[in-house]
């Protein structure tokens, strides 16, 4: 019955080894920490015994203790134990430095000093994480990287407000306590040994039991130190790792990035992909009309129009490419993609400058506060203006055009309308551009309505009305 029980299983049952602490050997194999599920599985396979029932079990238990003490990670644990005292001293020193700089603030000179101490504490926390990983095999995921934040002011703000900083301060407190405990263990063990050796009269009769007693004291001290190391391994991840809120934030950021990427891909498909396709077909057709096969006539007028379409399409595609690349570059620099990806109402000015360069006399009215409109709606409004103005260029040439973004009660109204074109050199197709189909979809998704059609005065109007409430 015993022969099938592995050392590991016995340890899990053996009362001498606290199973509630993550065990170093297991941390190696499962870096995320001991899972409660794992222990339940062991409980099912091995009947739970509170006391060792036979000599064989005691033997197996002892082997378990020895294996735990000299397990695969024992050199690392010895090193970690040796570092308990100096690390405790360092923690104490940093606490003094922190309190000292707080006192100095009162005298008006210590603000920089506090920041310096906090930064040092975060640095020490990084070293501690590395120590836990390399010596004890406990993997501690780092939290927010203050160093990666853009700008000195953000860095300083995050340094002071980050929960990670204050958890690191808490860890230093734990370090001081661990150091004190180590000191106490060493002190009492030494005192006991000295007392045993010099406080008693040794003779032939009691020498052996006294020696055994001393050995027991040393063993107890070692076990206590081991317990302290395990404590550090258990508490460390909580204080040094990313907090729950940070892990959730990281997950959310990941999801947002994915959504941003998908949106970017769809945008590229709708804008650049489509503009290039139309340009390619126009160019191919133009070439054919200039040098037709057989007895077909040369059509320079078609070629001229085709070139104009290609010019308009390519200009719009390049502007979109520019924006897409800036988004990708922003992400490359390690900055969050989200704040850069969607265009905002503020970007409309730049868009219209480009169109005016292209010869379109266009006026823009934005009569709504930027902070009244959720980011998603701002991006949609930008798209409406972009699509509307591009379509004017495509289908009507360069008539006078007015773009408006207005707040009407609880709705946001975005419209682009143009006067009657002077010469109707392109067909005002009912379908409009490819983007119009995409806009339809997005407007519907946002709970709004899209209308597009000719105006009584001979122009064309695109109008999108979006609900402002509950759209965020």
């Amino acid at each position: 019955m015993i022969s099938s029980v592995s050392v590991r299983d016995v340890r899990a049952d053996h009362p001498a080894v606290p199973t509630w602490l993550p065990h170093v050997g297991e941390e190696r194999s499962a870096p995320t920490g001991e899972s409660p599920g794992g222990r339940e599985r062991q409980d099912r396979t091995v009947p739970t015994t509170t006391f060792p029932r036979s000599a064989a079990e005691i033997g197996a238990g002892l082997r378990g203790v020895v294996a735990a003490a000299t397990g695969p990670g024992w050199p690392g644990r010895v090193l970690y134990a040796l570092a308990l005292l100096p690390a405790g001293a360092l923690g104490l020193a940093l606490y003094f430095a922190l309190f000292g700089s707080v006192v100095a603030v009162i005298y008006g000179v210590g603000l920089l000093l506090i920041l310096l101490v906090l930064a040092t504490i975060r640095g020490v926390a990084g070293l501690e994480r590395r120590m836990l990983r390399s010596l004890l095999g406990v993997d501690v995921p780092a939290g927010e990287r203050v160093r990666r934040q853009p700008g000195v002011r953000t860095k300083v703000r995050r340094l002071v407000t980050s929960a990670g900083t204050w958890r690191a301060v808490g860890w230093l407190g734990a370090r001081v306590l661990l150091g004190a405990a180590t000191l106490a263990v060493l002190f009492f063990a030494t005192v006991l040994c000295v007392a045993l050796r010099f406080g008693l009269d040794w003779n032939v009769l009691n020498a052996l039991p006294l020696l055994a007693l001393m050995a027991l004291v040393v063993l107890a001290a070692l076990l206590l130190l081991d317990l302290l190391v395990r404590l550090a391994a258990a508490v460390g991840p909580r204080l040094l790792g990313a907090g729950a809120e940070q892990r959730i934030a990281a997950l959310q950021a990941g999801g947002r990035r994915l959504a941003d990427r998908n949106r970017l891909a769809r945008d590229l498909h709708d804008t650049i992909g489509h503009a290039l396709t139309a340009s390619l077909l126009q160019a191919t057709a133009a070439r054919r009309t200039l040098s037709p096969g057989g007895d077909a006539p040369v059509q320079p007028e078609f070629a001229r129009q085709a070139l104009q379409h290609i010019e308009t399409n390519t200009r719009a595609a390049l502007a979109e490419l520019d924006r897409a690349l800036s988004v990708l570059r922003a992400e490359d620099d390690g900055r969050d993609l989200a704040p850069f990806a969607p265009p905002t109402l503020a970007d409309l000015d730049e868009l219209l400058v480009g169109l005016r360069d292209g010869g379109l006399p266009v006026a823009l009215t934005v009569d709504v506060g930027t902070d009244e409109v959720p980011a998603a709606l701002q991006a949609l409004a930008y798209r409406v203006v972009q699509e509307g103005t591009t379509n004017v260029l495509r289908h009507a040439g360069t008539p006078v055009t007015v773009a408006q973004v207005l707040r009407l009660g609880d709705t946001l109204a975005v419209s682009v309308h143009n006067e009657r074109p002077e010469q109707q050199d392109s067909r005002p197709g009912p379908g409009g551009g490819r983007g119009l189909a995409g806009l339809h979809e997005r407007t519907r998704a946002a709970g709004g309505t899209l209308t597009a059609g000719p105006t009584p005065s001979g122009g064309f109007e695109l109008c999108v009305v979006l609900p402002l409430a509950g759209a965020a």
Binding site: H269, G273, H274, L276, T277, A278, L280, L281, Q282, A283, T284, A285, A286, R288, T289, P292, G293, G294, A296, Q299, F302, A306, H309, N313, R394, H395, S426, R427, G429, P430, G431, G432, G433, R434, L436, A437, H440
Partner: protein, 215 residues
């Protein structure tokens, strides 16, 4: 014989470019244009084209739905060639399932595009055989039921279907099996009839979905 075409795309620039490119071919003539799937149905009913060149994403009614409706109206005519900007697997497979005879990229060389139209009209081969076969194979769950799933085929017809599904044209199959082209044509017709398939593309889908061909 002139092939009558209808162009369906929501962008006038794409349509006008395509029209010029295709009309420069002596055997092709564009008899109608449409900007949405719904318009396409109406234009096709009015003009009775041989081949409809169908965009996928359009407002009002997309190309996949329009293809389905066209095929449901008359399985024989017109055939549908799907035009796409990007090789979006899902859209393309869905359009083949809806009954399109093949697909071509809008960025394809004009000669390739014209070839694809002629192939679709004649039905003597798959359009973009490798791409089409891979697309169908990768979208069909492999059931590995083996040839037993299509028992009504004769040995010869089964061989022909295997080569059709591999993307070979009638001429290539004739060379492979040491048969005349006419004989191959007869076998292919027999296979299509027994599978209830309108054209080779649908036969290949049936071959994969029944487990006769495995991915």
């Amino acid at each position: 014989m002139t092939l009558r075409l209808v162009l369906v795309d929501d962008d006038v620039l794409v349509r006008s470019g395509l029209r010029v490119i295709l009309e420069s071919e002596p055997d092709l003539t564009v008899v109608g244009e449409a900007g949405t799937g719904r318009e396409a149905l109406e234009v096709a009913a009015r003009t009775d084209p041989d081949v409809v060149l169908m965009d996928v994403r359009m407002p009002d009614m997309d190309g996949i739905t329009a293809t389905e409706r066209l095929i449901a109206r008359d399985p024989g005519r017109p055939r549908v060639l799907v035009l796409t900007t990007f090789e979006d697997d899902d859209y393309l497979f869905r359009s083949l399932k809806a009954g399109a005879s093949g697909f071509a990229l809008k960025r394809a060389d004009p000669d390739e595009l014209v070839d694809a139209i002629r192939i679709v009209a004649r039905g003597s081969s798959l359009v973009l055989p490798d791409l089409t076969r891979r697309l169908i194979a990768s979208h069909t769950p492999s059931r590995a039921r083996g040839a037993a799933a299509l028992p009504e085929l004769t040995g010869r017809e089964a061989d022909v279907l295997r080569l059709v599904a591999a993307g070979l044209s009638n001429a290539e199959i004739a060379a492979e099996m040491f048969l005349s082209r006419e004989t191959v044509k007869t076998h292919v017709s027999g296979v299509l009839l027994k599978l209830g398939a309108r054209d080779r593309t649908q036969a290949v889908i049936a071959a994969y979905e029944s487990g006769f061909m495995t991915a």
